[in-house]
């Protein structure tokens, strides 16, 4: 003990040491272990260790039929459950060349955007909490509850809906759906101003996030960092614009881009995306055409032999489904390119040279969902 006390301060700081952040750490939002090499407070490098909740979803898919696979995709990125379902359904419909009714496209797009809003709400809540603002967590969860209630009525589930099925949606929307969505948007437009007041313009928050975790546009592309994190580096990577699906080709919305490339920039992209999502919903909600909620499908779905690829924009970035089919009712090989997995790859690169406390802010700004990494 005496020896340590007598050691000159500079010598302690020169020594490199390792710290395990996680697997049980509140700011990793799940079971992710980061092996951080530190010199003093400065992060020298870090190695993510994943797989704590690896369930082998891709292996399970090879034994499941396509409608069964949809239920597994919910469990990858549970905050974009609806969008994950949507990706598989679009792929199956593309392979079978099925045209879904207009009504389905409207419902799916509205549900996708509701998913995006609630995902960003939860991200905002935990971002604030990670940086010490506990109030954010209560604000975010309070408002998110309204969306969960809307889902509960229509899909019968609050969290993992499995509402999409190949050809359409499981059941028609609840009669209260439109009324409740209107009520939510009206309320949330007021509440989101509080979000800005409590965090966006807060001087402590700005100091903790501005200039922290710089990710240049070239690096974002090379590391494949998509979604709001990539757009925070000025990379226009929104699949809703690049390869529009469902109603995205027909609604007007802006792709939110920021060019500061730091944690604050990634934060602001998500905040503005919530406004854009509400904008999309408002364009669609009153015009849902009448009709069937599902196309006619065969009882057993078999994809023609071949290879299929579907890109969608989930709340975290680009989600791709790649299927190799041999003509059977189960996929021969199914691969999910999940956004959190690829975004995690950049964490080492952007946190080098930062303080360990900044690592929490950087991790929060990438919005990682651990089951989405591990699958």
């Amino acid at each position: 003990m005496k020896e340590i006390i007598n050691l000159p301060v500079s010598k302690i700081e020169e020594e490199e040491y390792h710290i395990n952040m996680g697997p049980q750490h509140p700011s990793t939002h799940g079971v992710l272990r980061l092996l951080v090499s530190l010199q003093g407070e400065i992060v020298k490098s870090l190695k993510p260790h994943c797989g704590y909740i690896h369930r082998g979803i891709e292996k399970m898919c090879e034994k499941d039929t396509y409608p069964q696979v949809i239920h597994l995709t919910d469990r990858m990125d549970y905050l974009s459950a609806h969008i994950n379902n949507h990706a598989v359904c679009l792929l199956v419909e593309k392979a079978l060349e099925i045209e879904v009714p207009e009504r389905v496209k409207y419902i799916r797009t509205i549900m996708d955007e509701l998913t995006r809003i609630q995902s960003h709400q939860l991200w905002w809540s935990s971002f604030g909490m990670d940086l010490g603002g506990l109030t954010c967590f209560f604000y975010g969860l309070r408002d998110r509850e309204m969306i969960l209630d809307i889902w509960e009525e229509t899909t019968g589930s609050r969290f993992l809906q499995s509402y999409n099925c190949p050809g359409g949606v499981m059941q028609d929307i609840h009669p209260n759906f439109q009324k409740k969505v209107h009520a939510f948007i009206k309320t949330f437009k007021k509440k989101i101003k509080d979000y800005d007041r409590i965090l966006s313009g807060n001087v402590i928050f700005e100091n903790r996030s501005q200039g922290v975790g710089i990710l240049s546009k070239e690096d974002a592309i090379s590391y494949g960092v998509t979604g709001p994190s990539g757009r925070g580096s000025g990379w226009s990577c929104d699949i809703r614009k690049i390869e529009p699906y469902s109603m995205y080709g027909q609604v007007h919305f802006n792709e939110v881009l920021r060019y500061e490339c730091d944690t604050y920039s990634r934060y602001m992209v998500r905040m503005q995306e919530m406004h854009e999502s509400m904008n999309i919903i408002e364009q669609l909600i009153d015009n849902i055409p009448a009709g069937d909620h599902s196309a006619k499908m065969k009882a057993v779905i078999k994809l023609p032999a071949g290879e299929y690829f579907q890109r969608v924009e989930s709340a975290r970035g680009e989600l791709d489904v790649y299927v190799v089919s041999d003509g059977n009712k189960t996929p021969y090989r199914m691969k999910f390119r999940t956004p959190s997995f690829t975004n995690l790859g950049v964490l080492d690169h952007i946190s080098r040279g930062m303080k360990i406390a900044d690592l929490v802010a950087i991790g929060a700004s990438l919005d990682l969902v651990i089951p989405d990494i591990d699958r």
């Binding site: 292996k59 090379s222 390119r337």
Partner: protein
């Protein structure tokens, strides 16, 4: 660039390449030895400019193991699928592309973990999801699942 001229440009770089028909994207099978060279040229040539590796997937075709690269150009807005295959199931290996597209580093570790495909010159080739002492490669078709989790 449209698919025909894309194909012509890639055939210029690798004359042995073959196109696979009836695919969603232009799909080209290249010999494993030419992969790294092709990838480098695809990224650095200005009219190709393939700067974004969307997805890298391992596939077990039964006799052969393959790696499938979905590559996109943000500037030129075209997409191509490059495939490499090997008959060697005991010691399959390809050159890494993680020096060209950094995102490949994680994806290649996943392919190594699940298919046992080794990537030469990879900076940190370890298992990513499973434990270091795990026996076998689960996504291979000949993998025997002793715990029997998947088969009911």
């Amino acid at each position: 660039m449209d698919n025909d001229s894309l194909k012509a440009r890639i055939l210029e770089i690798v004359p042995e390449a073959q196109q696979e028909e009836n695919k969603q994207y232009l799909t080209i099978l290249v010999p494993a030895a030419k992969l790294h060279d092709l990838a480098l040229k695809m990224k650095s040539t200005t009219d190709l400019a393939f700067d974004y590796l969307i997805c890298l997937s391992g596939v077990d075709y039964g006799k052969q193991l393959a790696v499938v690269y979905h590559i996109n150009s943000i500037l030129q807005k075209h997409t191509v699928v490059i495939k490499v295959k090997t008959d060697d199931r005991i010691n399959p290996s390809f050159d890494t592309v993680s020096d060209i597209w950094r995102t490949a580093e994680f994806h290649e570790r996943e392919a190594y973990d699940m298919f046992g495909i080794r990537f030469n010159n990879h900076p940190d080739l370890r298992r990513i999801f499973l434990e270091e002492d795990w026996k076998g490669y689960p996504l291979r078709k000949d993998y025997v699942d002793e715990v029997n989790i998947v088969e009911f």
